[in-house]
Every structure is written in C-alpha cells, then in structure tokens.
Subunit: 210 residues, 2 copies
C-alpha cells in the first residue's frame, strides 16, 4: 500500500523521473547520474537524490542509478505494475479522443497500466453505440456486478453543469480517483483524489507569465 507520508510534489517528480528513464533508448546506457536526471526534470541533483532516498538505496556512489532496475522500482513504487481500470464519463468529442488515445496506448504496450473499462453518457442517442469496442452505457445502469466495482479512476468529460453530479455518483459507486476535464471545481470527500485536467485552468496558469 502507498504511504501517505510522501508529499504530493515528490510523487509528481517520481512520475517525471519514471518518464525520463523510459525515454532512454533500451540498451543505450546502463547507468544515469542524479545530475542528468535532474537536468531533464528541471530540478537539482540533490533533489533527485533526496526524493529517491525516501524510497530506498537505488544508486551507486560515483556510478549513478542503474537504468533498468530503477525503472522497475519506480513502476512498483508508483503502483503502475498492475491493470488500473478507468471509466470515462461523457463521450463527447474530448471523451472519444481520450478513449481512442488510451486504448491505443494500451494496445501498443501491454504493460501500459490504464485500461478503459466503461463508458458512460446521458444522451439516449449514444447509449448502446460503440467506441473502440466498448459500449456506451447510461450512468444509471451501472449495476453492482463485479466488473464495474473494480474501476479505480474516473475521467470526467461531461459539461461543467453536470460534472459535480456525475462525480458524486461515481464516488458513491466506489471510485476515489478523478481526472476532471470539466471547467468546474469538484467538491468530493477528503479520501477522493481529484486532479484538474481542464485546459482553461492550465492556460490561465500560463497566461500570468506571458
């Protein structure tokens, strides 16, 4: 189980470190230094060493971190060494694009952990139609069957006005992870994790600096 003592910013950097390791062409180098990792991640080398030391002793003095072993450790630490079922709520243009993208990632890499396992919409014209082999269902039809209860993450791609109600319902059905693409702030109990994926929010963060 994940420890709650690790700050969120460290987890975010760990995801970045894993990405950096995965971009090293296989077989091209055996070790990577903390300064090289830091350069790519835009943090200093001491930060890299400190972050990784929270989870164990992975490096060798003067040699660096073994690329393959550290990659496997990070996958394990970030709990990406399992299938993680994802449901998409709102199969409009963005929802459809995300379903296609994520099923494509999974098809081309069987170790890609995120598996789209359910699609929901409220438009009667869409119910029963297919995207990438998955049938769009009415949220209300989500039953108690085993398959559904396994969903770990909800992608919320409904319009802003519907997002809170959809998220509340998904939460009651046991989902605790939310990636919110709707331009609205979701209010969920403290044991839910919500990440904001709304493009307007991110554009506004950038605009301040430009």
């Amino acid at each position: 189980m994940a420890s709650n003592k690790i700050p969120d910013v460290v987890i975010r950097r760990m995801v970045t470190y894993l990405r950096i390791l995965r971009e090293i062409p296989p077989g091209s180098k055996e070790y990577i230094s903390s300064s090289e990792m830091g350069e790519w991640a835009a943090v200093n080398s001491a930060q890299v060493r400190k972050d990784l030391a929270l989870f164990g002793e992975f490096g060798k003095q003067g040699v660096g971190y073994p690329v393959q072993a550290l990659t496997e450790e990070l996958v394990r630490i970030l709990r990406a060494d399992r299938d993680i079922p994802v449901a998409v709520f709102g199969i409009g243009e963005l929802g459809t694009a995300l379903v296609r993208y994520l099923t494509g990632r999974r098809r081309s890499d069987p170790k890609y952990p995120f598996v789209i396992s359910a699609l929901f919409d409220s438009d009667p014209a869409k119910i029963g139609t297919n995207v990438e082999g998955l049938t769009i269902e009415l949220l209300e039809s989500w039953s108690e069957d085993k398959n559904r209860k396994e969903v770990k993450i909800a992608l919320i791609t409904v319009p802003a006005g519907a997002a809170q109600e959809v998220a509340d319902r998904a939460y009651r059905l046991g989902i605790k992870g939310f990636l919110n693409f709707a331009p609205t702030k979701l209010r969920l109990p403290p044991d839910a994790r919500v990440l904001n994926a709304d493009v307007t929010h991110q554009l506004q963060e950038l605009a301040y600096y430009l």
Copy 2:
C-alpha cells in the same frame, strides 16, 4: 507586468479562486468569505487571506470579499483581461477536439481570453484543410508576418517523438508558453514555461494513491 516573486503554487490557487468566483450565479450574493472560498478551494481560510493579501486589500473585515470586484481584480492579476493567441501543433484527434472546444468557449463568451489563431501539422493530406474556420498549415510555412509573432501559447499535441523538435521550433519563433499533451518531457530554456497536460502523467499521479 507579472511579478516573478509570487510562487507558482499561489498563482495556481489564484486560478482556482477565480474559477470559484465565476461559478457563483450572477446576482446571487454580493460577498464571499475567505472560509467559504477556502472550503471550495480545499485550503484553509487563512491561506486564502494570505494569498489574496499578496496582491492588495480586497476584503472587508467581518463582511468578506466583494464577489464582482474581486473577480475583476483576479482577472487583471492573472492577466486574463486581454486576448491571448494560441497555436495548436498537431491536428490529430486530440488536437481537433481541443480546437473545437476552445473556439466554442470563445464563441459563447467573448471575454474568454484564449483565441485559437493558428493550426499546424506535418501531414500533407491535412495542410490546407479547415477546422472551425482555421486552415491547417505546415509548421515550416510559419513566416514573419505580424499575426504569427503574436502567438503566446503553444498546445503541443503531436506524437511524443516529434514534440521536442516542434517545441524547439515554436520557441525559436517566440512562443514562451507551452501546454504539452505529448507523453514526453520537453526541454526548453529557462524563460519558457511548460505545463504538463499529458493524461498518462496525471493518471500515474492518481494511481499511486488508489
């Protein structure tokens, strides 16, 4: 001009505060308290007061913040009181969905600051075709004409292998703000701001906790 002394996390919270204010139905309430803002933003009321105090004296003791005036102040502080031209690099499924979404937002709200102003792709079959009234162009064709030099933000929606090259080119053309949807880490000079909008990155952050 934006001050560089304000921490990025404060700016991110300011964007959240603005969102909260905008979700208050017009005319429904004149003042909002720091504790109510904090509840919605998932921070404590002291944090709200501290953040806003960095920019001025907006509240009234015992009354709260005036909703309309504070909204206008936040728009000004976040520099969203102007048109901000955005170019999209990579007009595949995700790029198209984003163009449609953002032009729709702008159409329904003339004060929405982000204006899609150029579309680029490398696929000869797409060059010259239209999305939402905008013609898809070859990146190489980006000339020195005035219109193009005004672009402030690049949405990078090309495949991972092409993202760095496209971002380098956009940077050389004067773009300093990047919203990166490609599953790769971009390396740009320190005066560029890059936000990570890749869905896999965000899913991996969530997976740790679930």
